[in-house]
Symmetry: C2
Subunit: 693 residues, 2 copies
């Protein structure tokens, strides 16, 4: 039948025309800026290479996946995960290329933990024998592994885990046992259906040498949580062994494609060799415990995961902002109220109420980028030091990574949703490309250390450093915090009540100093409360959180500024745009806490009063470059999967195609009469639906 | 086979025991407070009555719905919608009881628009003949209707709609035509699959009387958007008529159960009688237009919808807070850092970093409640005045409802997510009960006027009022804004730069005055910018938004306070707890904008400095009553559908049951070997999955 919609076009000017104008009006060189951002470590070439392979496979077509049930999404993801590994073999992909393919396909893969925490833990905590035995099987995917730490009743407090690993010197075995329901492992990715092996973290219980001769039935002493490698399913039947119950925990907010697990043990025996013994061990005969040389060494993996999280956050935010900028440059709504009576409607990105939501997030994406680079360097240096036995920077790195993980994932998670809401009604639609992104990303503020809980770690470190700085003001500067305190503290001690002399509107350096001063002042206040006035730790938790946030903001501002004053291979005009992004990031962030900056002497009343106007002015300067700036992040259309954000601007054609051609619901005609049981005309009836309940 | 998990219990103390302790430690009388909140208009008795019926129907069982695909969710919702209507007939439910049943089943119903906007528009805008003809068929659900206004290219700017209704005096018909793709109707609920009729809003085009004699082929003049009632599908086949294309727009963020539509017309003719003609009309013979007596009358429906939205917001937020308070009172994580070495872990609700996220939201739920009641009264009064031909309060009500809709839905939407994140990992799980709630509710900041766009309406009204107040300071006080300006404006004009004399820590009345003063000061600043300095409207949009927010916050604070100083039939101790909730709401809200209150002279530096401590102190006072306070909202377990929030506290048993017994994914065993195509052991293979792509 003739479909009259085929001949219809969107109203003029069209999306492609509008984006072409946007790209023509700015002198930001997209390719050069893209290279500056993502060229140096081969990210861009890797992306092009892998994208070509992935896009040509029908199994990776994303057109219909939003219509699948959760069990089907999981099965599809498993099939996709297998194909990706086959492609990796076929094309000889390096691990980073395989990772790139996972990123582009954008499923949270059922093999993710196998490729991540599972293998990493064996590498970092397995003895030489354990490495030699397990790594070849893992790398060939002969066995599939997961990482089982979190339990139904315990996540953040790892010391509170209930699963027991009791050593039986008689048989030289550990007995894994879940004494309660809350001891059930929970949330462990890839284990619900896919994995047959797992790192299992359990309380190590050893016979009390003072009260027994080492036989069973005597008293036991707990040595805290330790990792064991355990085969949990039969390799043939893929059923859990007798004495183990495992399953998938069911639907979640996002992560539809991941089989997060529950797992319980009933006196299940594993050999002595199951305990990962690079850093600690149990003598097989006596059951005597060997302590790790450096207990902080286990934080290595966590810190690494966090630095990856921040690298990921910048790309996630860039993706949301790409959609938001492109669509709001196309979407026109309302003529200018002060304009002529027949003037055309404005693109909504011209409205300050849209700019204030999107452009600061664009600036934040750059801030996250430069901070991620800096963190990567710090991590690499620290790693080298650790390998050579020097653990001195570990505490600094761990504490800073805590605060940064908290702030950066909060910024990205909230930023996606802010972008989505700025898209009007279509932001709620499946064509936004932000729904699965949002749902999956909302795990990040909680995983790898809850964003409110871990800020205590940053605060605790700063408290220690502040105490030292006040006691020994002339000691050696060992890390960046020492340097910051050395510069800001005398001003705070001398200058209480004085008006700030920083020129936060005229000097970028003063903006940086203002943030450092405010973070230092908060650290000093917390020091006064805890160390001097001895206030209870718990009562200060919200102050710790504010301190960690202030310090992390200061790091972001500092790293962004450092990157721009170093040698940047970009035209001066482009550097000026990046400078404006830096200023927008800093002033927008500062405005939200104006009272704090004011009372800390970090900014003057006169300048703070005009800060909102300054933010508006910076946004107006950045606005003409917004489209090329997001283009420079080079997020491929395939990854965006967004009608609103596509590079060519064919927004309305794409939205209509998704609805009119791709939506399976339109294949059925329903019967709306309430007095009739029929739901789908001539098709399924009420019985089919009841069967699914 | 024996399942050893059957004999396992959660670790002690159990959830039921912990909640019993919580309930015993507070003297808040749950039943009396519930009656105070929801008793007077029969809400509670209606809820009990309908709940009993709904809960006993297997079709309304929610256990498996999270596992259904989106098309299946829609079919289920259609079946449920039919059953609800049958139950309404069987039990003789009043409309409010039917509405209660929809609320408890918690699907966004495919019949929602039929029962709402469709019938309301006929009632409010249909002529007597149109009412007489259509209403009986609508009420008997013989026909099912929808409301089709928004288009692919236009939502907020209704005047920009592209669909044309051109009058043909020759045949006495209107010709509906979509000239472009962006003219496609879009988002229209219930129309995608279910409805056979719709209110269609189109640009009314009439022959230009100056240049023609009324025959076709002459020039046309647009009279702006008007509503028409149109049959769009055949009653037998349920197929759209020739000349109409309709379908469902596909998956969205939430609203899986709703068939939002697209619809286009190709020169489709409808009779003259289709135009709803209570307020305006077209002469069938001459094509001459009759103007509505009062153009603002169409805002009536919108304002009514907004007052319903705010009533809904309080229940939504109460629901999220109920889950958050009960679970965080049960979840224990970490012992007190300053406590003895073997002290037990604390319930996380004892941590200020958890309190600061949940307890202010509990206070906000009460603030929304009292504001919704006040708005309901204002709406009823205004409605009565309109019926008697007096339109004077319409502008006030409409402008205030804009700002309140914006603020209240933002508070509720952000509040759900804040609660969810405060639940740790389990907040991301399907047992939280907050996932569908969050997904569905995220439509609210956008629908019925985008939350950033509509704040201009509040600001525009205040700008007008401020201009009048400055010109005629002694004019009659016509509405609450006049009263507020009369009280605050002299202080602002006289007191620039003076320290505030309000005692916001010691006097509740001063807290109210402080908010009113700050809103008035922002209105005065906006007046200076726009009226005195003639700044462009667009450049002031962020200021307008801040003003609207400030004014709406002031209304919430005022209405909350008014409610507590009126005659409250509750014990003095309970009234004291409500007072603390009021103070927490006001001080928490104030703290976020401290700099603004400070520079407006609405609060003093000395008091603002200690505000965070005051918030902590109020939270500590409210903490012991948190569980009974949420109990008083009487959200049934059936509606909560939350393992974490259930009344009896059996959190871990419920989570485990959902995973171990109810999760369909656990019925399949997979093959994880990447070199094999098999996905499910002995079951579906790759071909089945490919077929779904």
């Amino acid at each position: 039948m003739h479909d009259f919609t085929e001949s219809l076009r969107p109203s003029q000017p069209s999306g492609p025309e509008l984006l072409a104008r946007e790209r023509a009006q700015s002198n930001v060189p997209t390719e050069a800026l893209a290279n500056h951002l993502l060229g140096s470590d081969g990210f861009l070439s890797r992306q092009s290479k892998v994208l070509a392979v992935v896009q040509s496979e029908p199994l990776f077509n994303k057109s219909h996946q939003q219509n699948l049930s959760r069990p089907d999404r999981f099965k599809l993801a498993l099939a996709r995960g297998k194909l990706l590994r086959r492609l990796a073999d076929k094309h000889g992909w390096a691990p980073e290329e395989h990772e790139m393919a996972e990123y582009l396909v954008d499923d949270v893969s059922p093999y993710m933990l196998h490729m991540g925490m599972f293998v990493t833990t064996i590498r970092e905590q397995g003895s030489d024998e354990q490495r030699a035995y397990w790594l070849p099987q893992i790398e060939a995917w002969k066995i599939i592994g997961a990482y089982a730490q979190t339990e139904l009743g315990h996540g953040s407090n790892v010391r509170g885990l209930e699963l027991e690993a009791r050593y039986d010197p008689g048989t030289r075995e550990f007995v894994l046992h879940s004494p309660t329901l809350t001891a059930s492992k929970w949330w462990n990715g890839a284990l619900g259906r896919t994995a047959n092996h797992a790192i299992v973290v359990a309380q190590l219980l050893l016979p009390d040498s003072r009260t027994s001769n080492g036989t069973l039935g005597t008293k036991y002493v707990s040595y805290g949580p330790h990792p064991f490698i355990v085969q949990v399913r039969d390799m043939e039947t893929h059923q859990p062994f007798e004495g183990i119950v495992i399953g998938d925990i069911g639907p979640k907010y996002g992560y539809a494609t991941m089989d997060n697990a529950y797992m319980l043990f009933n006196n299940f025996r594993i050999p002595h060799s199951a305990m990962l013994s690079r850093h600690s061990g149990v003598d097989p005969v006596t059951g005597k415990y060997t302590k790790p040389a450096e207990s902080a060494v286990v934080y290595g993996t966590l810190t690494y995961m966090r630095s990856k999280i921040i690298q990921h956050a910048r790309l996630v935010l860039a993706r949301a902002v790409t959609v938001a900028v492109r669509y709001t440059a196309i979407r026109r709504q309302f003529p200018d109220r002060d304009g002529a009576s027949n003037c055309p409607e404005l693109p909504v990105l011209d409205y300050p109420t849209v700019q204030i939501r999107i452009l600061p997030l664009l600036a934040i994406a750059f801030a996250l980028h430069y901070t991620a680079l800096a963190m990567q360097n710090i991590y690499a240096n620290t790693r080298r030091e650790i390998e050579s036995g020097n653990f001195s920077s570990l505490a600094y790195m761990h504490s800073m990574s805590s605060g940064l993980k908290s702030l950066c994932t909060t910024l990205a998670a909230d930023g996606i949703e802010t972008c989505r809401r700025a898209l009007g009604g279509h932001g709620f639609g499946g064509g936004s490309g932000l729904i699965q992104l949002n749902n999956d990303y909302l795990s990040k503020p909680t995983v790898e250390g809850d964003n409110w809980m871990i800020t205590q770690q940053t605060a605790a470190y700063m408290l220690k450093k502040m105490t030292a700085a006040l006691q020994k003001p002339n000691a050696v500067v060992a890390d960046e915090i020492d340097g910051q305190f050395r510069a800001s503290l005398p001003l705070i001690l001398d200058g209480a009540g004085k008006e700030s002399s920083y020129d936060i509107l005229g000097s970028d350096e003063d903006l940086v100093k203002s943030f450092q001063r405010r973070a230092t002042a908060l650290a000093y206040n917390v020091y006064q409360a805890r160390v001097v006035r001895k206030q209870p730790w718990t009562s200060l938790m919200t102050d710790f959180h504010k301190l960690s946030k202030a310090q992390s903001q200061s790091i972001l501002v500092t790293k962004f500024h450092d990157a721009l004053v170093s040698n940047v291979d970009l035209p001066a005009a482009t550097q000026a745009v990046l400078r404006d992004l830096f200023r927008l990031f800093a002033t927008f962030t500062l405005e939200a806490d104006r009272y704090e900056f004011f009372t800390c002497g970090a900014a003057s009343r006169a300048q703070l009063d005009v800060l909102p106007a300054r933010v508006n002015e910076l946004m107006a300067r950045i606005r003409p470059h917004a489209v090329p700036l997001v283009d420079s992040w080079k997020i491929p259309d395939y990854l965006l999967d967004s009608a609103l954000g596509r590079y060519d601007g064919r927004v309305y054609e794409d939205l209509f195609n998704r609805a009119h051609q791709l939506n399976p619901l339109n294949k059925v005609t329903v019967n709306p009469n309430y007095w009739e049981d029929e739901i789908v005309k001539g098709g399924e009836d009420l019985k089919d639906i009841r069967a699914k309940l």
